[in-house]
């Protein structure tokens, strides 16, 4: 009896000590976000909770710190959902870290806002990078990324063969009619909850990233890219209405779900859908799920297949006091070796040919080489204007409304009007 109470007491004491340790540990970790004390610079990344990429970035930082003694980089990771808000808040408080990563389409906005400093003297290092992985604004380079991702149509060879669907190739992708025919065949087979899954349940940047390429393949666009002043005629022209009608038709026919499940790749692996519209990031799990998974080019809706380009990239803040340290790190990290490291650990497309040779599967003729080819052939950058965040959210809402049955022309006219008003109210970001 006595010994058991004592044991309980020691256990209690241990718990209390552990908790205190944890708490003080947390407090210690929280308060060190300022930069530039004797050569130490801070690096922010959106990768908290994303072990693969965070580990790769940590390796680069460790290697850099070990490679020289002048500078020290201190990595701080944020969860992706709150990353942009953290950066905006830090910028308002003039507490941006020296180095940070940026989602590709936000680069013009942040460059225009004065968050980012142009990267000087890196033209050589970045000369063989995929064009979609180098963030430019006003003819200056502001960021570069280690990888890109590619949108694909995922299916299984056996599904295609059983239903008599032609296997599309990069030279001969599905046409609009062929795709409709393939969906009809899959529906007729009665095996699937939905013939295709367009991941309509995802939110945020996925919508402009995934669905504006279809619009571009029809011949429309998010904004007129000649001068980035107006969306009139491209977002509400006949091609755009055609896109909207097609997109709504898929949902109305029951070819895709109005709102698909939270994990479309898992649904595909479970045989709920016949074709999955997703990205190269599903390659690893879906190859594990089936031995005949194929990653097909997306559909040619008139102007050839299109996919979104540009993923997370790295840049330097305009308020960085120790620019030599930041430049040194960014140059160090841009080596093929690290491009290969990050691409391998994240299963993404390495941006340079040199790195591609080192990443398993991405060598010429490798099983992942196709993703790099898609990225080279089909990728379209999202509009390079500081107005992009507004365009993206406006397009998202319009596309969601259209999918749910709103009148295409009226919805697109409204979106165009809103985007034009925003560009104009900001003096076209001159």
């Amino acid at each position: 009896m006595k010994s058991s109470t004592r044991r309980r007491l020691t256990f209690g004491a241990a718990v209390v000590t552990a908790t205190t340790l944890l708490l003080t540990g947390c407090a210690k970790g929280g308060g060190t976000s300022s930069s530039s004390e004797d050569g130490t610079i801070t690096l922010w990344t959106h990768n908290a909770g994303n072990a693969g990429e965070l580990g790769a970035i940590q390796t680069i930082v460790d290697d850099f710190n070990a490679s020289q003694s002048d500078y020290e980089v201190d990595l701080q990771a944020f969860p992706q959902d709150s990353y942009n808000q953290s950066v905006t808040a830090a910028a308002a408080a003039k507490k941006l870290p020296c180095i940070m990563d940026i989602d590709g389409p936000n680069v013009p906005n942040w460059a225009w806002a004065g968050y980012l400093a142009p990267l000087e003297g890196m033209d050589e290092e970045l000369s063989d990078y995929l064009p979609t992985t180098v963030g430019k604004y006003d003819d200056e380079i502001y960021s570069y990324g280690f990888y890109d991702v590619s949108l694909v149509m995922v299916s299984r060879q056996s599904i295609l063969d059983e239903n008599g669907i032609r296997t599309p190739t990069i030279d001969q992708p599905w046409t609009k009619d062929e795709f409709a025919d393939a969906l009809a065949k899959l529906k007729a087979s009665g095996k699937y909850e939905y013939p295709a899954d367009f991941a309509t349940g995802l939110t945020g940047e996925w919508w402009p990233y995934a669905y504006s390429p279809f619009l571009q393949s029809f011949g429309g666009d998010l904004i007129d890219r000649d001068d980035y002043k107006s969306a009139d005629g491209v977002l509400n022209g006949p091609e755009a209405v055609e896109w909207a009608t097609w997109f709504r038709g898929l949902a109305a026919n029951g070819d895709i779900a109005l709102k698909s499940g939270s994990d479309p790749a898992q649904d595909f692996a479970n045989g709920k859908t016949g074709i999955l519209y997703s990205g190269s990031w599903t390659a690893v799990p879906l190859r594990k799920a089936f031995d005949d998974t194929v990653f097909l080019p997306t559909v040619d809706l008139g102007q050839g297949p299109k996919i979104g380009g540009g993923s997370w990239q790295w840049g330097m803040s305009a308020t960085c006091e120790n620019t030599e340290a930041a430049s040194a790190y960014l140059k160090f990290a841009a080596q093929d070796e690290y491009v290969a490291k990050v691409a391998t650990d994240t299963n993404n497309i390495p941006t340079t040919p040199g790195a591609a040779a080192e990443v398993p599967g991405f060598e010429d003729g490798g099983e992942n080489d196709i993703f790099r080819q898609y990225a080279e052939e089909y990728a379209v950058l999202r509009p390079v204007t500081p107005g992009y965040p507004f365009i993206a959210t406006t397009f998202t809402k319009a596309a969601q409304d259209i999918l749910n049955g709103a009148d295409p022309q009226a919805t697109l006219d409204q979106a165009t009007k809103d985007i034009d008003a925003n560009q104009q109210q900001n003096n076209y970001f001159q």
């Binding site: 968050y115 109005l258 709102k259 409304d401 749910n404 925003n422």
Partner: protein
Amino acid sequence: MTTPTAEPLSEAGVVPRAARTTGTAERRAPSGTRSPGLVALLMLLPASVLIITFLLVPIGLTFVLAFTNARLISPEPAQFIGVTNFVNLFSDDTFWASLRNTIIFTVVIVPVQSGAALGLAVLINSKMRGTNFFRTVYFLPVVTSMVVVSMLWLFLYQPNGLINAVLANFGIAGPDWLGNPKTALIAIILMSAWQAMGFHMVIWLSGLQTIAQELYEAAALDGANRWQQFVNVTWPGLRQTRTFILITITIAAFGLFSQVNIMTQGGPLNSTTTLVFQAVRSGFQQQQTGYASAISLVFFVLVLAVSLVQRHLTRDKEATR
């Protein structure tokens, strides 16, 4: 259990008495070293600093920013653009949908939530074993974060989720609750009422327990049945509690945001967008601080008007009594 009852009543009775006692104690002890005015100022300080920083300054800023083209992220200084934001706002279909949804939500949820909470309170007020258990169970959703509750109900409301599975047992083909413009707002209303009702149940309960037991005994002696007791004893006895609950639910209902943000993002087809959701979307995702301020200003005026009307109505009743 008694503190919540004291709150709505306190304005009239409890506070001055408490203030009087502490006041005299204060005056006797240090005997004139500090003036009462200074002490009062010191006591006001913590609350007023917080209220000024987090309430008055933002409200003041909203008034100013609403008439500018201020942006969340911009190298340009904000410019005064007059009433352009309001002109745009009043010609924006989404704004009218937001206003409509906010009003529908409030008008429906006030009676539903307070009625259900009263029902629970009456049930729990009976002297039976295990009332504490039920009290805790009904109160659980209140202490659970709205974000968590929304995520859970997101699964419950799925076309093949639990709710539709249960309905299917009765031969009813349930709708795609959150995907159908006709049912999305109702789904959010039901879930919100369920989440918050425990809180108001506790307040009703405290009101119920202040009603003297003798009144029920007297009513029973007069031959009143349960329903007559409720109408003639319970309901009049809950007048103060009722006012408090009406006002708190109304104000909470106007601020509808978290559920919408997590479950539907305002869709489908604007069927669940609300004023606060639209303000947050414009201000943060679309970076239009000025426009969002204009929405907030309209929202502020709306809530102010409704609160004034409610105050007026409840005060009137007091006077006639």
